[in-house]
Symmetry: C2
Subunit: 255 residues, 2 copies
């Protein structure tokens, strides 16, 4: 029987130690985790890393006992049934409130991302009174990690920093890319003829988001797999940033 | 060196013939495509199938030369810079208009999905004057395909029917699941302790959407790979439906 060549992708989860302290060298942790699992990283790989371990290694943690809620934070917390100190931290990370309802504040963050609670994370953080903030510049975090891998392992895979976002209209969270290095996050099919020979219209795929979602499938929420290697995807090398995936306000019907 | 067990997922694209006619037996086409590529399907696999070939096989095609636009369709088409006949078809598939702007109509479809243009598809359809509608019941289409695979190949993988949706706030399209059979589309982590021993709060992952996004990465837009096999993901077997991933209006801040 003649074999048809298949396109195939592999996604390999990397277990990492759970106690990642401020100042920890993520590149070294990842290189060691890959070595322990017998995964030899290559420049064609895409490394997807959860925001959580990036934030921890960058010391983006807030001790809630040091937070004094503003009058507005206290009122909003009462409306939403939330901890006023957490709401205060959320507001400090917020440039603009998009909606407030159903226990959530939908925010435009200081980085320009639109997401619930400015990405402030109350789970998987050491200490009940500690929350984690998003990296202050996740594209820069991704680039730094990529350089570190180059220095330690001699290869520079593309890097995606992922976070778990809700969506309007749809139930459940999915992982998206909040930081990118070494690749273009959007794939533009406009002007290419489709399988029927027509020219495709508005078809730009957010492949970095799809890669982040794919990686989540080997991570899980309660496991200790904060990193995944995606192998076999022909990404477009480039200087892309995650902000290219944030729709400008003037083109956004839902802000 | 001791090896740590890794979680690993494979995604294999299946090439299929491009001329899928109304009445075509998708189960047979997929079984033959898998055989030609040497991929033996198993009940643990998840088969992700693009809406397009499902719609084609179900004859969900509209010849625009038979469509008479209503007065509203003509006015809206003029505002949006669109073909009035396409707008008429979109409106016929629409229960409620959520927004109209930027050349798009964001709709709540007759099936309850919220998406642009009621999922009406102008690309990759035979004939310039033909558009494809969504399957009338994509969960039923998925279940039928799953039964067909069981009869032909003796295995019943989970089945997801995917479509390419835009998102508020973010640029680029991603694949999501509009039909599901044999699995639960949402994975609920609530009440499970996280890696730090805290109980996770509101963490429900839309794994069927993530699987659809992952599958898109081996499909591409202009290739002839409308089917992907996801292997190694421990899905939860069940009678789930894609409608479980549509947020009810009363809990939706953006409708």
């Amino acid at each position: 029987m003649s074999r048809v060549m298949s396109s195939e992708l592999r996604i390999i989860g990397l277990k990492c130690p759970r106690d990642i302290a401020p100042g920890a060298d993520l590149a070294q942790i990842i290189v060691e985790a890959a070595r322990a699992q017998g995964v030899g990283l290559t420049g064609g790989d895409i490394l997807v890393v959860t925001q959580k371990i990036v934030s921890k290694s960058e010391g983006r943690l807030v001790d809630l006992s040091t937070v004094a809620p503003s009058a507005f934070a206290a009122q909003a917390a009462s409306l939403l049934g939330r901890d006023p100190r957490v709401v205060e931290v959320v507001l400090r990370e917020t440039r603009r409130v998009v909606r407030m309802d159903h226990r959530a504040i939908i925010t435009e963050t200081r980085h320009g991302l639109v997401c619930a609670n400015a990405g402030v994370d109350e789970s998987n953080v050491a200490g009940d009174d500690t929350v984690a903030l998003l990296p202050s510049d996740a594209d820069a975090s991704a680039a730094r990690l990529r350089r570190g891998l180059g220095e330690l392992a001699g290869v520079e895979p593309a890097v995606i920093i992922s976070d778990t976002f809700g969506r309007p209209w749809r139930e459940g969270f999915v992982n998206v890319a909040i930081g990118v290095a070494g690749m273009e996050p959007l794939k533009d099919y406009r002007g290419q003829p489709d399988a029927e020979g027509h020219v495709l219209r508005a078809t730009i795929l957010a492949v970095a988001d799809e890669l982040a979602s794919a990686a989540e499938l080997v991570m899980g929420k309660v496991d200790e797999v904060p990193v995944a290697v995606v192998r076999g995807y022909a990404y477009t090398p480039g200087e892309g940033t995650a902000s290219q995936m944030v729709r400008p306000r003037e083109r956004d019907m839902f802000r």
